[in-house]
């Protein structure tokens, strides 16, 4: 891939948050390693799915891309330009091109303002249109996302969850952005409404050539919308691949475990699914494990995994667009159910593993 197809490029991005430890006077110097060295490219017109569990850093990464956070180190390139250290003023015109749709359609809309003015805000802030012209553009947007333009003067509370998310979409699209970061846009919605919003996002992408970074913890949604998927674990990307490859031949044991844990709404498939039940919880991002961060829970962990940090590269003869950060990647068809970690001299946190053949 040449740099030119990449609308967004992240190079070694880190975002650390200081945490205060101990009492008032003894201020600590520890950091939450929320995003810890991410390299990623997003091509023009594609949808990149970003998946991972709570606390893996996916939302922090999204906010770093939109420059809602300043990254600790590394660089963010947008449309061929390094935007990592741009000042607020220099960033301003770019804000029109990068927009975010948030998860919570209740929390992200000011309840005391009318919908027309919420959607019209981007026009006002960027001085694009005013007066009757602004109103007309807002009403066009409302129509575009499937809202009744006559509801211009209503308050957010008068809309259902799905309609509110349409308001969020309209606001994000007001200035015709190039990149839209969708941070769990359908997670708060019921399935029948979720499908409406997913279709809307797909239609808008076709119409306006949008590029999406689509963040979700719901793998079935991500699978549906994404061209490529990146899987995050504890601040790092552990695997990235085109969607079909990721689902058919996941190389990273974490990806495999994540896919196998997904409840499939089909009894026959569900009954025949081999579920990899991971041991324990995700370790604290304040002190991530050494080597491969997944080694504390990985059924295939070996001594090397504790010592060496695996690079994110193509493995086992995969094409260049399928990269995995694992020293012992999975062959197609290899069983993870029978694997057991072999690590010497290390206390493995065997938290909560249902004992093999234990209960029942």
């Amino acid at each position: 891939m040449t740099t030119d197809d990449a609308l967004l490029r992240l190079v070694g991005v880190h975002k650390h948050f200081p945490v205060q430890i101990g009492a008032l006077l003894s201020r600590g110097h520890e950091f939450v390693h929320a995003v810890d060295g991410v390299d990623l490219q997003v091509r023009r017109g594609e949808t990149l799915g970003l998946v991972g569990e709570t606390g893996c850093g996916k939302s922090t990464l999204a906010r770093s891309i939109a420059r809602l956070y300043d990254v600790t180190s590394g660089s963010v390139w947008f449309d061929g330009r390094d935007i990592t250290r741009l000042s607020r003023r220099a960033m301003r015109p770019l804000r029109r091109e990068i927009q975010v749709i948030f998860q919570d359609p209740y929390g992200s809309l000011n309840p005391r303002r009318r919908v027309g003015s919420i959607i019209g805000d981007p026009f006002a802030i960027h001085g694009v249109a005013s007066g009757a012209r602004r109103k007309k553009q807002v009403q066009e947007l409302m129509e575009l996302v499937g809202l009744n333009p006559e509801h211009y003067n209503r308050f957010p509370a008068e809309f259902s969850g799905g309609q509110r998310q349409r308001i969020g979409v309209a606001r994000a699209l007001a200035l015709r952005p190039k990149l839209v970061i969708c941070d769990e846009p359908v997670s708060a919605l019921d399935v029948s409404i979720q499908a409406q919003i997913i279709n809307l996002l797909a239609d808008l992408q076709d119409e306006f050539d949008l590029t999406y970074v689509f963040i979700s913890h719901d793998l079935s949604v991500v699978r549906h919308v994404s061209d490529r998927i990146a899987v995050m674990y504890l601040g790092k990307i552990v695997e990235t691949a085109p969607t079909p490859q990721l689902f058919e031949a996941p190389r990273h044991p974490y990806t495999r475990a994540l896919l196998s844990a997904l409840p499939v709404p089909d009894p026959d498939v569900s009954d025949s699914q081999q579920r990899v039940i991971l041991a324990g919880d995700m370790p604290s991002p304040v002190a991530p494990p050494s080597g491969c961060r997944f080694h504390t829970r990985c059924p295939k962990a070996r001594n090397d995994c504790v010592k060496r940090e695996p690079p994110l590269v193509a493995v086992l003869g995969d094409a260049d667009d399928h990269a995995t950060a694992c020293l012992f990647p999975l062959e197609v068809g290899e069983s993870l159910i029978l694997a057991s970690p072999q690590i010497e001299d290390t206390v493995i946190d065997v938290d909560a593993a249902p004992e093999p053949g234990g209960v029942a």
Partner: protein, 339 residues
């Protein structure tokens, strides 16, 4: 075999300043010993209110109907009777384990208190031993140590295990789990569902699982009730719900899921939004959104009747209960376009 719990024609409504909210409207279902009944539905379908009412947790609601638990009507039982059943013979777990545990007390203390409340004979020491045993049963490592931890010292998945341990403490015959894994990540959800299944197999506990997630239903249920706007639209065994459903709402729910195979295709959402429970339209509550709606649907409410000659399969829909006739009807109604 008689049902462990038999709910008949349950109605629950709340008086609010906006009017009377009819949260549950004539719900009937049965749970057999050792079985898992999944109640599935979207927000506001009444699935949680129904089970909360059965366990006496909806104060101030107007309630009618019957909920026979092992022959005792829970809706008309004396408070003392209900207290003896709730917790001891019916265990409950809720979606958010952090708000269900008291933050100021050690988890062990909370389980011990619960055991002693129902068993005055048991010594504190024995109750504590039982609590530790329960914690290790649900897969909490070093249970005898962690018994002295506070709820905030546990992760979300671990807290939900503590809740399960507490609900299972008195070996209940029925466990009501209201969205037990909704707040959890998928890998943790898999752990918790695994623990619940093991306990069920070990102790023969019946489970009512309330969920909006059809994937969880496919994985865990024996029988399924699909709820919409306060009533059951369809009731059947698990495979029938997924492969041979009768009700257009069930069909709509399944069609709106992101498909397993083909990515990138358009999804088929259910058009419109659910009705307000204050001002329900006459007839079938799903009629305004139904692709097969015809005149009768807008006037008369369909009863929940047997379909496809299957005694375990009921659907509330005016489409024919005969499979071939229903197919012809559907084809004809679809051809005339959605009205």
């Amino acid at each position: 075999m008689p049902s462990l719990l038999s709910v008949r024609d349950l109605h629950v409504s709340f008086d609010t300043s906006d009017g009377v909210v009819q949260a549950v409207r004539g719900l009937s279902f049965d749970v057999r010993r050792g079985d898992t009944l999944a109640i599935v539905g979207e927000s506001g379908s009444g699935k949680s209110v129904a089970t909360q009412t059965i366990t006496g947790l909806t104060r101030g609601a107007r309630i009618s109907g019957e909920a026979l638990f092992d022959g005792i009507d829970l809706l008309s039982a004396e408070p003392a009777t209900l207290r003896r059943i709730r917790g001891a013979r019916i265990g409950m777990i809720f979606q958010d384990p952090l708000s269900s545990l008291h933050p100021y007390y050690r988890v062990g203390w909370q389980i011990v208190e619960m055991i002693q409340a129902h068993d005055q004979e048991i010594s504190k020491r024995d109750a504590r031993g039982r609590a530790a045993e329960l914690l290790s049963l649900v897969g909490i490592p070093q249970a005898s140590k962690r018994i002295d931890d506070y709820p905030h010292q546990f992760s979300g998945g671990m807290r939900q295990r503590v809740m399960i341990a507490m609900a299972m403490a008195l070996n209940p015959e029925l466990l009501i789990a209201d969205e037990p894994t909704t707040a959890l990540d998928v890998t943790v959800q898999a752990q918790v569902l695994h623990v619940m299944r093991n306990l069920q197999q070990q102790f023969g506990t019946a489970i009512i699982l309330i969920t909006h997630d059809l994937g969880v239903v496919a994985q865990t249920a024996d029988h399924v009730v699909v709820m919409y706007a306060g009533s059951a639209m369809e009731r059947a065994r698990r495979r029938e719900i997924f492969y041979r459903h009768h009700n257009p709402y069930t069909e709509g729910l399944l069609l709106s899921l992101p498909a397993q195979g083909e990515a990138g295709e358009r999804l088929t959402p259910i058009k419109g939004t659910p009705p307000s429970l204050i001002d329900l339209p006459p007839g079938c509550p799903f009629a305004p959104r139904c692709p097969y709606v015809f005149d009768r649907c807008r006037v008369e409410t369909p009863p929940l009747d047997d379909v496809f000659r299957d005694p375990f399969h009921q659907s509330a829909c005016w489409l024919s209960a005969d499979e071939a006739t229903r197919e012809r009807q559907r084809a004809a109604l679809k051809a005339t376009g959605t009205s």
